[in-house]
C-alpha cells in the first residue's frame, strides 16, 4: 500500500480538480441551455454551449459554424434614449464591445460574430445584434436594464480604447469610446469604483494620464482580449 501512496496523492489531486471543474461547468449560467425557442435568447444560449460538452481533459475548440459576415470593423452608437454609448469591434469572427455612460455605468463584453449574428457576453451584461459592413442593430443589457441601439460603422481613430495603469498602487482600467464626430466617452474603474475617465486624445493616446500617472492605452479590435465586466 505504501508503494502507491504518491500515486494516491496524484489521483486525489486529479479527482478534486475534475470534480471542481465539473461543478463549475454545471453551475456556469452560460451552460444552462434554455428550452424556449424564442430566437434572441436561443441565440445567446447556443453560442457558449459549444464548449459545454468539453471534457475536463485538454479539449480543442470546435470551429465556428458559419463564416462571419464582416471581416473587420468597428461600430459606435448611442443607445436609443442616450443612456449609454456603445462601441463594438469585430475581427475574424470575434467581437469585443464596451459600453459606458461616461459617469458610473460601464460594461466590457466579449463574443462572436457568426454570419451576421453578433452575440456578446459580459459579467452582468450582454449584447445581441445583427451586423453588416455599414451598421449593427441590436440590444444591450447592462445589470438588467435593456437598451436598443443602432450603431454605424466607423473608421479609425473612432472606435474603442482601453487604458491600463497602476495608479497609487491600484490596478486601474479605463475604457473610452471615440465616435466619428470626435466625441469621447469613458469610465475609469479601480478597486470596484467607477468614475468619469480622464480625457483621451485619439491622435496621441500615449499622453494619457490619471493624476499624473501615465496610462497605457491601446485601440482594441475584435480580436483583442478583454476581461468581461
Amino acid at each position: 500500500m505504501k508503494k502507491y501512496a504518491p500515486l494516491a496523492t496524484l489521483v486525489a489531486v486529479v479527482l478534486l480538480g475534475a470534480g471542481l471543474l465539473v461543478a463549475n461547468m454545471l453551475s456556469n449560467p452560460a451552460n444552462r441551455t434554455t428550452t424556449s425557442a424564442a430566437s434572441p435568447s436561443a441565440a445567446v444560449a447556443a453560442a457558449p454551449s459549444e464548449w459545454a460538452s468539453a471534457a475536463p481533459a485538454p479539449a480543442p475548440e470546435s470551429a465556428p459554424p458559419a463564416a462571419p459576415a464582416v471581416a473587420e470593423k468597428a461600430y459606435t452608437a448611442r443607445s436609443a434614449g442616450n443612456e449609454v454609448t456603445v462601441a463594438i469591434a469585430v475581427k475574424d469572427g470575434k467581437a469585443v464591445a464596451y459600453a459606458c455612460d461616461g459617469k458610473k455605468i460601464e460594461a466590457w463584453l466579449e463574443g462572436t460574430l457568426t454570419g451576421g449574428d453578433l452575440t456578446l457576453q459580459g459579467k452582468t451584461s450582454s449584447i445581441t445584434a445583427t451586423t453588416d459592413e455599414k451598421a449593427t442593430f441590436g440590444t444591450i443589457t447592462v445589470d438588467g436594464k435593456e437598451w436598443p441601439f443602432s450603431a454605424k460603422g466607423v473608421a479609425a481613430p473612432a472606435g474603442l480604447y482601453e487604458g491600463r495603469g497602476t495608479v497609487a498602487k491600484v490596478a486601474t482600467r479605463v475604457g473610452w469610446i471615440v465616435e466619428d464626430n470626435g466625441n469621447v466617452t469613458g469610465v475609469t474603474s479601480a478597486n470596484g469604483t467607477r468614475e468619469p475617465a480622464p480625457p483621451l486624445d485619439p491622435a496621441n493616446p500615449g499622453a494619457t494620464t490619471i493624476d499624473g500617472t501615465p496610462v497605457a492605452v491601446t485601440a482594441l479590435d475584435g480580436n483583442s482580449e478583454v476581461i468581461p465586466r
Partner: protein, 183 residues
C-alpha cells in the same frame, strides 16, 4: 523482472518515464489553458469577498505549507543541524498533500475562468509556472517510489517549491499589494 537490465539503464528509464509524464502534464495544462475559451465564471468559495480573494488566501495557505515542506525536507536530508524527529517524514508527506490540494481549486479557477494568458509579464510568468508546477509535481510523485538517481527527488522538490513560490509572488502578493489584505 528486469533483473538482467543493468541498474543504470533501469534508472535512466524510470527517469525518462517520470520526466516524460511530468512534461506531458505541464504541456497538456498549457494547451488546455490556451485553447479553451475563458469563461470568466467560476464558483465562489463561501466566506470570501471575491473569487480572487479566495484564490489569494488558498495560495497563501499552500505557500506556508510549502515552507513547512522545505524545512522538513532540509531536516530529513540533514541540512539543518537538528536531530530529525521520527514524525518528520509524516509531517512532510501530509503537509505536502494538504498544500497541493489547496492549490487545486486555485488552479481550476485559473484554467477554467482565465486560461493561459500572456498579456503582461506577470501574467505570462504566472501562466508558465502554473503549468510547470503540476508537471514538476507529477514527476516528483512518480519519482518517489521509482528507482531513479538520488539527485532527482531533491531537484524536483526544489522545482516544485520554487514554482509555487513564483506562483504565489505573481498572484497572491500582487493581489494583496493592489487590493490590500482583504478576505
Amino acid at each position: 523482472m528486469n533483473a538482467h537490465v543493468p541498474a543504470r539503464n533501469r534508472q535512466t528509464r524510470a527517469l525518462v518515464v517520470a520526466f516524460g509524464i511530468g512534461s506531458l502534464v505541464a504541456v497538456g495544462l498549457g494547451v488546455y489553458g490556451s485553447t479553451h475559451e475563458p469563461t470568466f465564471f467560476a464558483l465562489n468559495l463561501a466566506g470570501f469577498s471575491s473569487g480572487l480573494a479566495a484564490k489569494a488566501w488558498l495560495a497563501t495557505g499552500a505557500f506556508l505549507l510549502a515552507v513547512v515542506q522545505l524545512v522538513s525536507a532540509l531536516i530529513m536530508y540533514g541540512r539543518i543541524p537538528v536531530r530529525a524527529p521520527s514524525w518528520i517524514g509524516g509531517l512532510h508527506r501530509w503537509s505536502g498533500r494538504a498544500a497541493v490540494l489547496l492549490t487545486v481549486p486555485v488552479a481550476v479557477h485559473c484554467l477554467y475562468a482565465l486560461g493561459f494568458q500572456a498579456g503582461e509579464p506577470r501574467v505570462l510568468v504566472h501562466s508558465l509556472f502554473g503549468c510547470f508546477f503540476y508537471g514538476a509535481f507529477t514527476a516528483k510523485m512518480l519519482v518517489l517510489r521509482a528507482d531513479t538517481p538520488n539527485w532527482t527527488l531533491p531537484v524536483l522538490g526544489g522545482a516544485v517549491f520554487s514554482a509555487l513560490t513564483a506562483l504565489w509572488l505573481t498572484a497572491s502578493v500582487w493581489f494583496f499589494t493592489t487590493s490590500g489584505l482583504t478576505f
